[in-house]
Amino acid sequence: MIPAAFDYVRAESAAHAVALLGEHGEEAKLLAGGHSLLPMMKLRLAVPSVLVDVGCLVDLSYVRDAGDHVAIGALTRHRDVEISALLRAEVPLLAHAAAHVGDPQVRHRGTIGGSVAHADPASDLPAVLLALGATLVATGPAGEREIPIGGFFTGFLESSLAADELLTEIRVPKVPGAGWSFQKFNRRAQDWAIVGVAAVHGPGITGVGLVNMGSTPLRAEATEAALRGGASVADAAAVADEGTEPSADLNASEEYRRHLARVLVRRALDEAAGRP
């Protein structure tokens, strides 16, 4: 299986990538690690006529301490997120979850920015970043703009990034003293989660992100509201699927996914209560 033919251009800088996107318009797709895009291209689910390769932009691969948050370059690979001492200390939920994306080979290629920009509801990291309340930085012709992650995911594999914008940085608030948990339920090693839950709960932060519970990555808003109102873990978890519209597929019915969400949120909140 090989992708349909396309033209390939290698971006020399973020600004160059933005210029190339402006030149080629909607026909172009950005290529980072390629581990979401290339499988879709092989199956002809994506047929871009131009690939703009940003994979060589090493200056967009970094994890930096930025005071109250950690700044992560969009081209930082899952493996580098997983082993970052800074993230393990300041945002352990993210480092831990990154170690559960795909398999080692995938984590050597896939990037955090690519995963977020792909906006797949079945991906782990978007739910984690939703729970943490991350801020995304996009670079376009007019410069940079910040996008709160809550407004980023607009539909199935769709985001609020413009066709000529490149996701360049992910800013993740430090969560000192907060409990956290990541629950990924699947039946085969390396597979996507049938349902997943990312939870962070502690002083000043309450976030619960859901994997594969709708057409976009989303938050368990009813659970978050219940927790803020002082509800018990059991009561907060019982409403985890409120407001979600999970789909049915060969792995799970809609009702089974709703059940999993409630069970996994309860496990996540119980585990978070025991950490750090």
């Binding site: 349909a4 390629g34 290339l38 390769d53 493996r79 559960h100 398999d103 080692p104 090693a189 997943g196």
Partner: protein
Amino acid sequence: MQVTITVNGVEHVADVEPRTLLVHLIREQVGLTGTNVGCDTSSCGACTVHLDGEAVKSCTVLAVQADRRAVTTIEGLAATDGTLHPMQEAFRQHHGLQCGFCTPGMVMAAVSLFVEVPAPTEREVREGLEGNLCRCTGYHNIVKAVLACASGDPASQPAITPVDVTAGGAR
């Protein structure tokens, strides 16, 4: 377009279509057929090679993405005099294969695992190889071989007890 890729220490210059996959370049243009194409969907890991020393699935890397980088395939592991790499020797000693189709990818993934986790536990071996599928289900001897190699003696006999690593979130 033209790419320059070092494969097993030898520089290769090739003209490729942008959509050419790295595994096809390796098999058809470089002529090294030890790297297998299994599922073609980045699931099975049969096509695992090292890109700048790290395991990747070469069916999900474009040849143009490997331009000016170094690739190691299963053919590049053994010494020039034919002496097997310790991981290959461990697979041979412990019969870490049945039909053999997944073996090149398993060996390359295991060698890459050792770079990241020099003395892996059985659980770390099983999780470290989760990107590689053996359709014969011959995992027992594969894990045994990797653990034997980890001990420094490919012929050693590690005691192994299969552990359930399917509960991804509950380490």
